[in-house]
Symmetry: C7
Subunit: 273 residues, 7 copies
Amino acid sequence: MNFDLDWGVMISSALTISGRILLLLILFLIIKPIGKKLITSLMNQVATKQKLSEGRKKTLSNLLINVYNYVLIFLFIVMLLGIFNIPITPLLAGAGIIGLAIGFGAQGLVSDIVTGFFILIEKQIDVDDYVTAGGENGIVEELGLRTTQIRSFDGTLNYIPNRYIQNVNNHTRGNMRALVDFGIAYEENIDHVTQVLQKVCEEMSENPLIKEGPDVVGVQSLDDSQVTLRVIAQTEKNEQFGIERELRKRIKEALDENNIEIPYPHQVNVPKS
Amino acid sequence: MNFDLDWGVMISSALTISGRILLLLILFLIIKPIGKKLITSLMNQVATKQKLSEGRKKTLSNLLINVYNYVLIFLFIVMLLGIFNIPITPLLAGAGIIGLAIGFGAQGLVSDIVTGFFILIEKQIDVDDYVTAGGENGIVEELGLRTTQIRSFDGTLNYIPNRYIQNVNNHTRGNMRALVDFGIAYEENIDHVTQVLQKVCEEMSENPLIKEGPDVVGVQSLDDSQVTLRVIAQTEKNEQFGIERELRKRIKEALDENNIEIPYPHQVNVPKS
Amino acid sequence: MNFDLDWGVMISSALTISGRILLLLILFLIIKPIGKKLITSLMNQVATKQKLSEGRKKTLSNLLINVYNYVLIFLFIVMLLGIFNIPITPLLAGAGIIGLAIGFGAQGLVSDIVTGFFILIEKQIDVDDYVTAGGENGIVEELGLRTTQIRSFDGTLNYIPNRYIQNVNNHTRGNMRALVDFGIAYEENIDHVTQVLQKVCEEMSENPLIKEGPDVVGVQSLDDSQVTLRVIAQTEKNEQFGIERELRKRIKEALDENNIEIPYPHQVNVPKS
Amino acid sequence: MNFDLDWGVMISSALTISGRILLLLILFLIIKPIGKKLITSLMNQVATKQKLSEGRKKTLSNLLINVYNYVLIFLFIVMLLGIFNIPITPLLAGAGIIGLAIGFGAQGLVSDIVTGFFILIEKQIDVDDYVTAGGENGIVEELGLRTTQIRSFDGTLNYIPNRYIQNVNNHTRGNMRALVDFGIAYEENIDHVTQVLQKVCEEMSENPLIKEGPDVVGVQSLDDSQVTLRVIAQTEKNEQFGIERELRKRIKEALDENNIEIPYPHQVNVPKS
Amino acid sequence: MNFDLDWGVMISSALTISGRILLLLILFLIIKPIGKKLITSLMNQVATKQKLSEGRKKTLSNLLINVYNYVLIFLFIVMLLGIFNIPITPLLAGAGIIGLAIGFGAQGLVSDIVTGFFILIEKQIDVDDYVTAGGENGIVEELGLRTTQIRSFDGTLNYIPNRYIQNVNNHTRGNMRALVDFGIAYEENIDHVTQVLQKVCEEMSENPLIKEGPDVVGVQSLDDSQVTLRVIAQTEKNEQFGIERELRKRIKEALDENNIEIPYPHQVNVPKS
Amino acid sequence: MNFDLDWGVMISSALTISGRILLLLILFLIIKPIGKKLITSLMNQVATKQKLSEGRKKTLSNLLINVYNYVLIFLFIVMLLGIFNIPITPLLAGAGIIGLAIGFGAQGLVSDIVTGFFILIEKQIDVDDYVTAGGENGIVEELGLRTTQIRSFDGTLNYIPNRYIQNVNNHTRGNMRALVDFGIAYEENIDHVTQVLQKVCEEMSENPLIKEGPDVVGVQSLDDSQVTLRVIAQTEKNEQFGIERELRKRIKEALDENNIEIPYPHQVNVPKS
Amino acid sequence: MNFDLDWGVMISSALTISGRILLLLILFLIIKPIGKKLITSLMNQVATKQKLSEGRKKTLSNLLINVYNYVLIFLFIVMLLGIFNIPITPLLAGAGIIGLAIGFGAQGLVSDIVTGFFILIEKQIDVDDYVTAGGENGIVEELGLRTTQIRSFDGTLNYIPNRYIQNVNNHTRGNMRALVDFGIAYEENIDHVTQVLQKVCEEMSENPLIKEGPDVVGVQSLDDSQVTLRVIAQTEKNEQFGIERELRKRIKEALDENNIEIPYPHQVNVPKS
């Protein structure tokens, strides 16, 4: 550096420095309200899309604006120091290490939000859907950017951070299948049993909750003590469990009426020779 | 660099250097108390929200202020060296490596706090809730930013670092379900059994702990040796286990009275032909 | 720096600065529409290949163009500051930390897209294929860059982020195998049973859904209470389950006709000596 | 660079250089003993808190002071080279790579210490507690910053690096539960059995180790061959196993006296029709 | 900077700048075709080694050349900006963040290719080999740098990204073992049974598919109800299953002929004393 | 840069350059033997502590000195280039990437050594201890910084890289427990059986290998067909298995003498009503 | 920068530039053959140690020399550009990103080689050893730096990348244990049975493959239907399976001769009271 105690230089340098500070000030005065508006409008959009409550929306946008302001102030101080040629790398390094530490910890948070965002955008889940997600099974009570709340059938409320949701199994997207397996004795005539069951199926098919009539699909397996037959129906969503219970009851009664027994486990007792 | 043994230059350079040091000093004198106040007020807020004990609050804020002071002193020294043009990169590199090493280790800690923060904010858990979280099942005794304490029903106190809490299953958010499965013999008439049980359910439904009367929902499965029926009720939270025990006792007695036996496992013995 | 209050220098420096700004402006005016066109045409290609709906295509390309514009504006501001010698490292560092944080979170997203891209390119899956992927088993309903939708046979719609798809098991690429195992008593003559079954197989082989006639492949195992035989056929894709049911029924009837019984579990009862 | 063989410049430059070296020396002479004292006092504090043996304390503080000295010497050499304008980036890069390699390896170590620190601070474990932690179950023998030693009941001494301790289940924090399940025949009258047991419970409740009298809580399940009843008591910590054994013995004897048999598994033998 | 409105300087500076641009241009004109040729020839080599179809080869090399061109253009622009002293760090930082994001996502892709490369080079798998890899079991249909296609025996085509292939179990490298275990009653004389079996083995050993005659290796275990013997043979690759079925049938027939029964499970019935 | 063809400047610059090279040379000549001695003495210490064989010690220290020399030479060349103002960043970047690649691969190695170091320092394992570690169970044959060798009881020698050792279960630190569970019939009088067993325990307690006399601790469980009692003793380390065998034999004989039978599984046969 | 159209300066600058290029050239001409020789000799050493085939050695060293040459050329170009003051950071950044991407992918490769290196150095495995490693069990066929080939006993050839080898269980390092467990009835006298078995053991102990005579170690457990005794012997390596088969046969015969029966499972049949 070349410092001639020349007043001209000093003035000029003072001028350029004050010019830069001015420019910096103007820039920050412009950027600050723009960022604030951007955050608010973004939050409004997200809030509308997700039907966030007014309170939660305010909490979140205040939080974001606070963080934004602190970052701006930090940048302003650092740039000012830079203009005065005071070394700023240590400051930045310090902020970097702290930022990194927080970043690692907050990684899960960002991951929650990204996953939550796509679950919302792709409409994989709606409130009141019956889903299996993140190891929990039940009715969705609330969808959030960070957590999804599912109410299990035993009344438990499950909070699932979105990042733990891998596959979403939605049981409320279209008709569901009702499936009843039951065994008959090896001695029974399969065709006869099928006829008996087909009659039950025809009666059941008038149920408006059933979309595609129950049908006997055939011999599912040749088990140790019984021949297993399978009956399948397509039902309205969430009605499959009721239909299965009804089918089971009617099949049992029809078999009883026709003297077709559901067999107990068999064992051949070989006398010791 | 251009060093003319010109006193003017030296004075000017000395002036700028001392000016910078002054500026630095002033800055630090301003920043130090601000940071301290910020930490204290933040700790107060968190402490109030979480109802931290006075002692723990002080410990934590002292710890933070200490760390803050050490960081400030380190930055001050480094910037001073920078002003005197003594190379500071090695110092920074050294601090960076140590910081990184600690950062990796402390990653879990930050992750604990972030998760704990959201569990508190989203009120997923309250003290005295009956929850399943992080593989432990019991009553919440204490909520912390770092650990959650759950007392199991066998008396064990479980300390769970918050980062190991993935899904929170809260069993104290609304009514719970009492569910009783039991078997009847294939020979019994399902309609008759259902009538008998429905009478038991009606008597039980007068229990104020039951929110939604117990109902026989139907044939749950056709098992090897029995037809399984299911009875379901909605109870006050945490009362489901008692109601289930009561239901089991009453169902057993009602079946006995009406000579409907809960069947033992059956096996058909086939003589060796 | 050498600041002589020499107007010539100032003019020249002003000239170079304004020259650079001009150059920068021109560059950005050139780059902006090029990038926009590139994104649009790329989106069009991908959309055509994947038969994306018009709506989704627009959403995606708008999203990308928005991101692109924000990045350009950020770069423009930063470069402008650079030309005026206002320190920009803090700005960059700030952006870097935020970028990194988002990057970690978005890592899964990129991973989804890369995997999805290759599944599409290598045509591992087509809509209406019967596949097992990412732990779900069913008919593919929709293929996306981020998620694949598989409809299970029980009616559930499964949304699988592509990154969770490791192996793809496609059950609709060529003929499938129908396999029936069943046991005969140790007393039966294996050659005789094989003859009986081979006749069943010959009848079945006229079924046009069967590509390679069912064959008795031999003694699969010597089990506790039975000798297990195996019959295998090659069928049209997705017809294997029906053929297996048919085979099971026919084999059972053929064995009955020839008095070859499928044995129950045996146990030798040794009297206490 | 502008090198005029001007002696003035050379002297001035020599002066500034020697000035910087002096400053550096002074700084190091100040920092070295401060760091040493800091380490020693810190070690003393930790040692007192953890009741470290004198020997271990010395080993650790010597180790730390050694590392500290080596780092100081390295920094001193690097800064000296920097003052003489000898390029130092390669040196730093070399140290960085080695540091990183060690850092990755030592990550587990730091993680051990952070976890250990919080287990100590939060007093999750005390010596002689009966705990389950890190997959081991037993009495704590020693608590360390790096490892926890748990003696299993079979005499094995388990060394658990603290990072493998996730949840701590402390069985010595408050009363423990003694729980006895046992079955009665379906033919028994539940009320009668309850009366018999309640008398046993009343006798047991005089045991001073029992904090909350044993109670028959009711019908726990309707099993295949028996109705299962449950008795629960609250005992002094670590006495639950003894109380359970005593309860089992007394219940068995009371049932015997009242001719209430604990049933064997039942099976209905159906003759082949 | 020292800007004297001296035309000489400006000319010289203009000269050096244009010289650099020229140099840059020449360099790029040289490097571009060299890189293109290198990619093409490399692709040709890989394609030949792997017997890639002509179409796939072209797709891949076009893709690579495109990426290469974009990178060159980006570098050219950045270097040009650098020559004009327009700050380029923001551009680089932007590219770096995007690159990193893509890099993380593409990590799996690179890992696929590296693993695939070694599977090909070390000839661990050939098309038509019977292998177990990546959890799938079947005949290899196609080997790729990114995925391996294995056809399961039930007709399913499995696409396995190479990175999920850990151990490769190749069942087509040398003779395979046929192994038959079967039980005889505790009452049988082991030496006598061994003689009977050895005769069966001798007959079987004339089968040209058997490389090393079947042998009775001895008493494999003393089980609950039977003494288990083991017979082992070495067969041509992929013939082990057929040989095992044949062996099982022949052993069963030989034991029948010699009145050596394969025993059913035994149970001693102790009368209640 | 300002290049006046002024010989003075050139001489002075040559002087400073040669001065720096001299300084560099002197520094390296000093550092090289110091590092070598440091490595050798460190290796000697470690070797003595661990009782490394002379051969292994030499191999290791030669390896380390080689690596050290290569690093020094690399640094010397790079610094020399730096003094001549030849750009060195590419060299460093190249070395950095290679170093990083190796670093990632060698991460496991460092992790092995750190873990091994602490296992040695904390004396968690000694040669000839009976331990369970890293999934292997047996007698320790050799302790190393990288691997631990454990000989299983079936004669297998297991090499465990230290990083796979998580918990160390050392079965040779203090007395071990011998534990024998056995069942008596529900018909037996528990007090009578306890007396009989207590006599066996008293006889056994004279065995010098038993540190704390075997005791009947009580009713361990009420099982399906038997009341299970438990006997516990404290034995010398590694003698627990022998003592358990002896106890089992004596208990069996004592029960036989007193006509207390160990019951077989019971089953109630209910006739089909 | 100060550009006086002064020919002297230009010449001097041209001189220094050409001087640097010369230096650079000389350096590269020296370094290139040295590196090549180093690689070749290193490869030779490794090849000799591992007994690599000549072909594989050449492939590998050619590969390495190619990579080395490309790196040198890249460095040369970059340094040349640096001397001409053409900005090179973008080039480096580009190379860095690509290098990182490859590095991540190749991480597994380096990890393979490091693990393989130590398996070879520590002689954990030799060709023809019977080992369990990386989940595979069999005879080692080939040891490589990247993969280990193990031939399973069913003839399968397993390729295990070395990084998947965690613990190595080597069954060919010293004598192996033959262990036979078998049950006798509760009615038998344990001492008598032990005498009978001891005689069998004495006969067997003359077998030269047995290193330490088979011994009856005692009562291993009191099972449901039998008292289990254990016999143990030490055998030559890889002979344990044959010895076990022989022992089983002889024990069975000895028990038969002395009318000691190996009991079948027992069950007490309680008549329904």
